[in-house]
């Protein structure tokens, strides 16, 4: 159900006073829970909960041909499915825009930050490289699937082990994982989203709050270095507002990172 106008007006008048329905501050996340290794046939997997929002992320790997423009680099593919299981708003069928955007925004966050050392995923230049499939599924949507999925991707990548590869038979031996992790950089990118509701900038909105969002900015960054960014929705933002979001990101990034650090080692 779409949030009613009367609820929306109340949420807005609360935000004007710096308050939220669940007593959080505007820049405060809900309780973050991360669990890794939730599916044993995946090379890596994670479950992330932000309050009532829940996503699953799984990593599968396969050996294939590199792209012609990057013959010595592994491939990366991020896909997301917003399952009808997770909300009455989602329907079966080919992925619609929100699922496509989610996958692409997070793909860029991982790719542009150079978090994965794709050159180490090359088996034979121009012929064989590892492809990493990152699949995101929503299990319960109570707002902010985007940030939950971003955390899940990091946790699942850190959790993953590369499977054995039989070079003679040219076959991946699934189920026989090596002790080798996916080559990752120490600089962990976190993708965090900021919503403009009225004159307030809010993080980690619930479903009701997200419905009121006039504009959102997703920033993929690591300790002050921004590597991906996307503004969504129709309302324009002033330079002051963007600056405010950037300043907020510096602060919130540190808090969230500290909060989840132990889960993503």
């Amino acid at each position: 159900m779409i949030t009613s106008k009367i609820t929306g007006d109340r949420i807005k008048s609360y935000l004007e006073q710096g308050k939220r329905f669940d007593n959080r501050k505007l820049e405060e996340f809900r309780k973050i829970e991360i669990e890794t290794g939730i599916s044993k046939n995946a090379e890596g997997s994670a479950r992330v909960k932000l309050g009532d929002t829940e996503v699953l992320v799984g990593i599968k790997m396969n050996v294939g041909e590199p792209y012609p423009d990057s013959p010595d680099k592994g491939n990366l593919m991020v896909t997301a499915e917003l399952l009808p299981l997770s909300s009455e708003r989602f329907e079966n069928g080919p992925p619609r825009f929100p699922a496509i955007e989610l996958g692409r925004v997070l793909d860029r966050c991982v790719r542009e930050s150079k978090f994965i050392d794709v050159e180490k995923l090359c088996i034979k230049k121009g012929e064989k490289v590892w492809t990493i499939f990152i699949d995101v599924y929503s299990i319960n949507d109570d707002g902010n699937l985007l940030d939950a999925a971003g955390m899940g991707i990091i946790a699942a990548l850190k959790n993953a082990k590369i499977p054995k590869y039989d070079e003679k038979e040219e076959k991946v031996l699934y189920g026989e994982l090596t002790n080798t992790s996916i080559p990752l950089s120490k600089d962990t990118p976190l993708s965090l989203t900021y919503h403009k509701i009225g004159n307030s900038i809010v993080v980690d909105p619930t479903r009701e709050e997200e419905d009121l969002s006039e504009a959102r900015v997703t920033i993929g960054s690591n300790n002050g270095i921004i590597s991906s960014m996307q503004k969504g929705e129709e309302t324009a933002l002033t330079i002051e507002e963007i600056n405010r979001i950037l300043d907020t990101n510096e602060k919130v990034w540190k808090e969230v990172f500290k909060n989840i650090e132990k889960h993503i080692k």
Binding site: S39, N41, G58, K60, L83, L85, N92
Partner: protein, 232 residues
């Protein structure tokens, strides 16, 4: 001679652990998780609600619409997201397995959606999915005549066994492996049966009897999980 199972189970022994949990998805009207050994299924029920498209409405009774799916990473070789011929068939089989116990006549022109996903798969996924879906329907408060419980009976070489895992399903020596997923009410009514393999009718009858006992065992687990959420 009795076939020796690699994991040391007796022929009529179900895989461990069996876990059942109700109310795992807050957005859904009803939801449940069912784990049998290494197979984990989750299910969510939305409805009864307006049935779209309109031309599919049934003025005599409501419609149960099931959707079975495996998450891409639930098996060793990644599955491409989206429906397949296999998942389409299992979705329909699941509908047939559940419909006899759901009192759809109370909801003419309406639809009840059941979404089933495998988080981790090690054979017996349709059975785990049906078990989770039955609990989710009950949790949603949909009037039902009974629960249903599902289990795969089977045969390894010459021995009738229960609840094959993936490794056993791929068994090829002797007479090989036969897989017989069966869904029953606790009263012994069969709402679903399938068979792949090679078996005599005498042994099939034996397998069905074995499945009947096991489905009662599963029924008790489902009932307990439903009561637990009721008490909260």
């Amino acid at each position: 001679m009795v076939f020796k199972r690699e994991d040391g189970r007796k022929p009529e022994e179900l895989r461990k652990p069996i876990n059942a949990k109700v109310g795992i998805i807050p957005n859904a009207d009803g939801s449940a998780m069912y784990q049998s050994g290494e197979t984990i299924a989750i299910a969510a029920v939305y409805g009864p609600k307006e049935h779209h498209p309109r031309n599919q409405r049934n003025p005599r009774k409501g419609t149960l619409r099931c959707n079975y799916n495996m998450l891409s990473f639930s098996v060793t070789d990644r599955i491409r997201p989206g429906p397949s011929r296999r998942s389409t068939e299992i979705s329909k089989i699941t509908e047939w397995a559940l419909t006899p116990v759901v009192m759809l006549e109370k909801y003419p022109n309406m639809v009840i959606d059941v979404h089933i996903h495998m988080i981790q798969a090690d054979a017996g996924t349709r059975c785990a999915g049906i078990n989770a879906a039955a609990m989710a329907l009950a949790h949603a408060g949909i009037p039902m005549k009974n629960l249903v419980s599902s289990v795969a009976a089977g045969k390894l070489d010459k021995t009738v066994v229960l609840d094959l895992d993936k490794h056993e399903e791929d068994f090829e020596e002797g007479e090989g492996s036969t897989d017989i997923p069966i869904t029953m009410t606790p009263d012994g009514e069969i709402t679903h049966i399938q068979l792949d393999g090679k078996i005599t009718s005498k042994q099939l009858k034996e397998a069905i009897e074995m499945a009947k006992k096991a489905s009662k065992e599963i029924y008790e687990i489902q009932k307990k999980a439903l009561k637990e959420v009721g008490e909260k």
